[in-house]
C-alpha cells in the first residue's frame, strides 16, 4: 500500500520534471514559430503572445517564398543527408566489425588511425579538400558534399560501433560459423540486426551536423542548383538582417521540415533501439 502510494508520488514527480524539461526544450522553437506570423511591431511589443487578428501577418513568408526555392534546397539537403548516412553506416559498420571481431596485426593501430578523425577539426583542411574537388570536377555537385560528410562521419561511427560490436555475444557468431555461414553472412545477418540501436544512435549523431552544416556547402557547392537548406536560410538571414518578419519566417521554414522528418523517423529510431534491446 505504502509502496503503491510512493510509486504514484514518484510518477507525478517524474512527469512534472519531464514536462518542465519539455517546455524548456520547445520554448525557442515556439517563440520563433509564433512570431513568424506576426507584424513587426507586434513581434517587438508582445513577443510572448500568439498572433491574433490584429497582429497576424504573412509578409515574412511572402518575402521568403519570393526570394528562394526552398523546396529545392530542402530536396538537396535530403539527398545529401540520406546518402551520406547510408555510406557512413555501411562503411562504418563494416570497418567496426573488422576491428571488433578479428585479431590481426595492426588492429589497434588501425582503430587509432580511424579514430584520429574525431580529433581534428576537418574545417582546416578546407583548401585541400576544395582542390581535390576541383581536380576531380566535383565542385558544385552534391557528390562532393556526400564524400566529405561520409569521410567526416566515419571516425565517430567506427568508434561507437566498435564498442557495441564487442558486446555482441561470441557464442552466437561461433554458432553461425559452425553452421557454415560466411563471414559476410555473419556480419549482415547476425551482427547487424543486433547493433541496430547503436546504428540508430550513430545515424542521429551524424544526421545533425550534416543537415545543419553551413561551411562545406558554402565552399564546395554554393551554386543555386546545389544549395542546401541551411545555406539557403543563412544567405537569406544575411539579406534581411533587420527584416525580422522575413528572418523568422526563414528560420521557421528551416525548422519545420526537420522537425516533421524527425518526428516521423523518431518512431523507427526508438523502435530500432527497443527491438535491439529486447532481442
Amino acid at each position: 500500500m505504502n509502496r503503491a502510494r510512493q510509486n504514484i508520488f514518484n510518477m507525478i514527480a517524474a512527469h512534472t520534471l519531464l514536462l518542465a524539461y519539455m517546455v524548456l526544450a520547445l520554448f525557442p522553437v515556439f517563440i520563433i514559430l509564433i512570431n513568424s506570423f506576426k507584424t513587426r511591431r507586434a513581434i517587438f511589443r508582445h513577443p510572448l503572445m500568439p498572433p491574433d487578428t490584429d497582429s497576424f501577418s504573412l509578409t515574412g513568408y511572402e518575402t521568403v517564398l519570393k526570394q528562394g526555392d526552398f523546396l529545392h534546397y530542402f530536396q538537396n539537403s535530403m539527398i545529401v543527408t540520406v546518402v551520406s548516412l547510408f555510406f557512413i553506416l555501411l562503411f562504418g559498420a563494416m570497418a567496426a566489425f573488422a576491428l571488433a571481431e578479428y585479431r590481426f596485426k595492426g588492429n589497434s593501430w588501425m582503430g587509432l588511425y580511424l579514430a584520429l578523425g574525431i580529433m581534428i577539426p576537418i574545417r582546416i583542411g578546407t583548401v585541400s579538400i576544395l582542390q581535390i574537388m576541383v581536380a576531380t570536377g566535383l565542385v558544385n555537385t552534391l557528390t562532393a558534399l556526400i564524400l566529405v560528410y561520409t569521410a567526416q562521419g566515419l571516425p565517430l561511427a567506427v568508434f561507437i560501433l566498435t564498442e557495441f560490436m564487442k558486446q555482441v555475444s561470441n557464442d552466437l557468431k561461433n554458432a553461425g560459423r559452425i553452421d557454415g555461414l560466411s563471414e559476410y553472412a555473419i556480419f549482415f545477418k547476425l551482427v547487424l540486426p543486433l547493433v541496430r540501436p547503436a546504428m540508430a544512435t550513430v545515424a542521429v549523431f551524424n544526421m545533425i551536423p550534416i543537415w545543419n552544416d553551413l561551411w562545406f556547402p558554402l565552399i564546395l557547392a554554393p551554386a543555386e542548383e546545389t544549395k542546401t537548406l541551411t545555406l539557403g536560410s543563412q544567405v537569406f538571414i544575411g539579406q534581411f538582417v533587420t527584416n525580422w518578419n522575413a528572418v523568422l519566417a526563414a528560420l521557421s521554414m528551416a525548422i519545420i521540415p526537420v522537425m516533421t522528418l524527425y518526428v516521423f523517423f523518431s518512431r523507427q529510431l526508438i523502435r530500432g533501439i527497443t527491438a535491439g534491446a529486447v532481442k
Binding site: 526544450a25 528551416a254 524527425y262
Partner: protein, 309 residues
C-alpha cells in the same frame, strides 16, 4: 573449437573487404587534406613562398605574449566550457534517460521525441533564437523574470564578461543533451530483465536499484559519452561563432580554441588570415585532444569492465 583453429585460411581477405571502403574514403578526403594543412604549421610564408621553419611557429604561439595570452585564454575558456558540460549535460542526460527507461512511464515516446528536438536544430537557429530570447531589447527573458517578480535577476548575460561563457555553455548543453540521453537510454535498455528481477527480489527498486545495479552496468557508456563530450567541446566552434561572432566577445571572454583557430587561419576584418599559425593552433588542438583520448583509452576504459550479455 579445435577444428576451426586448425583450418585457418592463409589470408583473411574478408578483413580487407570490411576495412577497405572506410579506410579509402577516410584517407583520401580526411587524412590527406589534414596532413596537407598541418604541415603548414612547420612553414612560414615569406614573399608568397612557403619556407620550412621547423618549430618556430610553435615557439611564437607559446613564447610570444601577443599569441600565448590568447592561447591560454582560449584553453582556459575551453576547459570551463567542458566542465559545465560534464557537470550539467551528462548528469541531467543520465537522469532523463533513467526516468524515461522506467517501463511503466506513460507518454515516454512523446517525451523521448521532444528531448532530442533541440539537438536537430542548426547552430544558426539555436544561436539566433537564444540571442533573441536573452536580448535586452526584445525583452522575453526580462519580462518572464518580471512575471515571477525576479526582474532584478536579469542581466545582459551574453554581453557580460563574467556570464557570457557560462551562458553559452548552458545553451550548448540545452542543445546537445539528447545525445548522452540517447546513448544511456540505449544502454539501460540492454540490461537483461533477469538482472533487474533478481534485484527486485533482493528488495532493490526505484532509485536504489538505479544507483546500485544499473549505474555500474552503464559505466562503459558513461565513459563513451564523457570522451565524446571532451572531443566535441574541444572542437566546438559554431555556436560561439554564430552567437558572438569571430572575435568571441565580450573582451575575448568566450574565445575557445575553435574560434581562436578560425580567426587566425582565415582572418577577421582587417586582420589577414595566417594559415601557418592557424595550422599551428590546429595541431596543438589535435595534440590536446589526442592526449585526452589516450588517457581515456589506456587508463579509464581499461578499468571499466565490459559486460557481455
Amino acid at each position: 573449437m579445435g577444428m576451426i583453429t586448425t583450418r585457418k585460411p592463409p589470408f583473411k581477405w574478408h578483413i580487407v573487404v570490411f576495412l577497405a571502403p572506410a579506410v579509402l574514403v577516410y584517407t583520401a578526403i580526411m587524412i590527406f587534406p589534414m596532413i596537407d594543412t598541418m604541415r603548414l604549421a612547420l612553414f612560414s610564408s615569406i614573399d608568397n613562398h612557403q619556407v620550412f621553419v621547423g618549430l618556430k611557429n610553435f615557439k611564437t604561439l607559446f613564447g610570444d605574449p601577443r599569441w600565448s595570452e590568447h592561447f591560454w585564454n582560449a584553453l582556459g575558456n575551453n576547459t570551463w566550457f567542458f566542465i559545465i558540460h560534464m557537470l550539467v549535460q551528462n548528469p541531467v542526460g543520465i537522469a532523463l534517460a533513467a526516468i524515461l527507461s522506467v517501463p511503466t512511464l506513460r507518454f515516454a515516446p512523446a517525451y523521448r521525441t521532444i528531448v532530442i528536438i533541440p539537438t536537430i536544430l542548426s547552430f544558426v537557429i539555436v544561436g539566433f533564437s537564444w540571442k533573441l530570447i536573452l536580448s535586452p531589447l526584445w525583452g522575453i527573458a526580462p519580462s518572464m523574470l518580471d512575471m515571477i517578480g525576479l526582474k532584478s535577476l536579469f542581466h545582459p548575460w551574453l554581453g557580460k564578461e563574467q556570464y557570457a561563457l557560462t551562458t553559452l555553455a548552458l545553451i550548448s548543453v540545452w542543445q546537445f543533451i539528447g545525445i548522452p540521453m540517447l546513448l544511456i537510454y540505449a544502454a539501460l535498455l540492454t540490461i537483461p530483465e533477469e538482472i533487474l528481477e533478481a534485484a527486485e527480489c533482493d528488495g532493490l527498486t526505484g532509485f536504489s536499484q538505479f544507483w546500485k545495479i544499473k549505474l555500474p552496468l552503464i559505466l562503459p557508456s558513461i565513459g563513451i559519452i564523457s570522451i565524446l563530450t571532451f572531443v566535441g567541446n574541444f572542437n566546438a566552434f559554431d555556436l560561439i561563432f554564430t552567437a558572438q561572432g569571430p572575435v568571441a566577445g565580450p573582451n575575448y571572454s568566450t574565445d575557445i580554441l575553435g574560434t581562436f583557430m578560425y580567426r587566425t587561419f582565415f582572418g577577421y576584418q582587417l586582420q589577414l588570415g595566417d594559415p601557418n599559425l592557424g595550422a599551428t593552433i590546429a595541431s596543438t588542438m589535435f595534440l590536446i585532444i589526442l592526449i585526452g583520448v589516450c588517457i581515456y583509452l589506456f587508463t579509464i576504459q581499461r578499468r571499466l569492465r565490459r559486460y557481455q550479455f
